[in-house]
Subunit: 391 residues, 2 copies
């Protein structure tokens, strides 16, 4: 091994944390600072660190841990109770942006039929903007004390479900562009994977429950959980051509109702934020290609952001209206779903690995996260302060 990796990791975690804190201080999400840190120390600016295989392994484990933690943090009860309404908001709230992103790319660069690369690039543009960032939405609602209102519960429920739908869409898209374009086989593999994941998840859950009862709060619980997560990530990608993060997320959901789930989550969280997580986000900055940022791409980025925000409000608002909410509440729900975060970056990253997305589009995704994270709380505050009181 090359000893320089120690230097790389030291610089990356220090710069990511320092710029993350700076970002938070000026009101932006921490991840924005972490990405900027990678951008600055990378080839785009001072060229101190270049991406290498070891950094990529750390980054991949970082995103696997993030999705595993997201799975572990899933509140199954809340998901079930908000039920159909949240599901419909999530579903239409995924489909409209998906179509919007696809159409936007077509309008800019021409439409293409499958299995051409251009077709999948367009699909990826749509996929990137499907998933709402749960964490930012929750933070915004909780700050205003509207988290437990009916509108709030629907938003959070939908934000959780739309992560799952978003991941299924991502899986389909990656499966489609990875294989020979045989969509039937891809769908079969997806169904098969979720079936097997369900069975294995149930068995492992039972085994962990038994272990947890005998040895609560011992190191073996989080370690075996992490081993299960890594194994699921591997199996998903290796045998089902499904994104490894989907496997990690399923592993998290399988273990999200253990007695020691919080204990496991805490340890995954610490392992993640000490090293892997910051490196994942910094790595995105390292890979972001600023030299390709032409006026044309900048124009595309602005339209991309507008599309992402508007399609989410329309899709989710429409679904809320169908579910019987009035105009004000439908607008609140639509606006609450606008935030994009880690998942958008993860999807973009996956598109890059799959070879259908160019890193020149990364700045557009990063800008989307910044803009949506700043705008959503402002718009929500406006919508909740005017008109009737939310219940």
């Amino acid at each position: 091994m090359d000893i320089k990796i120690l230097f790389d990791l030291a610089i990356l975690i220090f710069a990511a944390k320092a710029l993350g804190l700076l970002a938070r201080r000026i009101g932006a999400p921490q991840v924005v600072g972490e990405i900027l840190a990678g951008l600055i120390v990378g080839p785009s600016v001072i060229n101190l660190i270049q991406v290498n295989d070891a950094i990529e392994v750390f980054a991949e484990i970082g995103v696997i841990m993030l999705m595993f933690a997201a799975g572990l943090g899933t509140d199954l009860k809340q998901l079930k109770s908000s039920g159909f309404k949240a599901f419909l908001v999530a579903l239409i709230g995924v489909l409209v942006p998906l179509a919007g992103g696809f159409a936007l790319y077509g309008i800019f660069y021409g439409f293409a039929a499958p299995p051409s690369k251009e077709f999948y690039t367009a699909l990826f543009m749509g996929t990137i903007i499907t998933a709402t960032s749960v964490s930012i939405t929750v933070a915004a609602l909780s700050e205003m004390g509207k988290l437990s209102t009916q509108v709030g519960t629907t938003i959070v429920g939908a934000a959780v479900i739309d992560d799952v739908i978003g991941i299924i869409v991502l899986t389909c898209v990656i499966g489609g562009c990875g294989g020979e374009g045989n969509v039937g086989l891809v769908l079969l593999k997806i169904v098969l994977f979720f079936l097997i994941a369900f069975v294995i998840g149930f068995v492992i859950y039972k085994a962990m429950e038994w272990l947890d009862a005998r040895h609560p709060h011992t190191q073996r619980i989080p370690i075996y959980s992490l081993a299960f997560c890594l194994a699921m990530a591997y199996v998903a990608q290796r045998y089902f051509e499904i994104a490894d993060i989907t496997g990690a997320y399923c592993a998290g959901i399988a273990l999200c109702t253990l007695k020691d789930t919080k204990y496991v989550e805490k340890r995954i969280d610490i392992s993640s934020y000490m090293l892997f997580g910051p490196i994942f986000f910094a790595c995105i900055g390292l890979k972001t290609d600023l030299s390709g940022l032409t006026l044309s791409i900048l124009g595309f980025s602005i339209c991309f952001i507008i599309t992402a925000l508007v399609t989410k409000v329309i899709g989710c608002g429409l679904a809320a209206k169908i579910c019987g909410y009035d105009m004000t509440d439908s607008l609140r729900i639509g606006a609450g779903m606008m935030t994009r975060g880690e998942v958008a970056l993860i999807v973009a990253q996956k598109g890059l690995s799959a070879g259908v997305l160019d890193s020149t589009y990364f700045p557009a995704v990063i800008l989307l996260i910044i803009v949506s994270s700043v705008i959503t709380p402002v718009v929500l505050k406006l919508l909740f302060s005017k008109g009737k009181q939310a219940v």
Copy 2:
């Protein structure tokens, strides 16, 4: 990156933890089980996993974290108060085994003069058996309730100091066999490194103390600490040809009196035991070459273990006698210092990387850890139960 790394890591951490627990159940140290796990899944037995660059990076960060944690856990006050007696016990307790290991190799395979490889191999044999395992010693004494007796304090103090002396010896030996054999230059580099480490350590300590006062118990404290540790490890190896673990250990000592040291230590500990630590020990098993275990090497191993145990008792016992302890207490101190642990493996590992030690000698080191860890508590119990009461 190759996705198989996820599989490798999953298997390694699961097997290491499972066999580690099994080892503990039958009264052996956990690390023994972790090493066996690597041995079993590696080329020696079922050949499921082979060492690769990514695993080596994880293993290296694992040992860096272990040594950083050891540095953080150092009790500077205890070290100062037990003072001269502990220092003398440590010093003679390092020199006698060093000479013993060197002589043993010479007797078996012939003596050689520097700068031949054989000379340094012999020196490494001695270096491996210099450092007492603090953790096992403390556990044994505390189990018997003898930790705070004068004999206990001297043993623990000496065990801590002998880690430092052991690392200096290791640094000299690695420097000697790595460079052109110019011992003067090596010593100059060592002195220069410790001087610079002292200055940088002081500056970083002051900066961290300031940060800690303003933002206690925040993520930035452990993250910046880890970045400092990695940077020190890199600087040591890259610019001073000093082992990276020495740099990590110094970084730990520099930060061992922060208000939040326990907070940092806890997070390093979790990061370590969740992934990096088990992989370090399992990696030793992966690299252990059982095919080379001939009768001749087995014979050498037995003599090696006897040498390691006897030289420690003689060295430390003699020093204790010089310091004014009577025969019984001198024997107790000598016996208490017999345990070897992680550091012996770390040194062996360093010898392998430096190209002067063959992996065929790994079984001897592993056997030494097992035997000494099992024998020491038994002997101590015997020596403390007979004769006068310890005070």
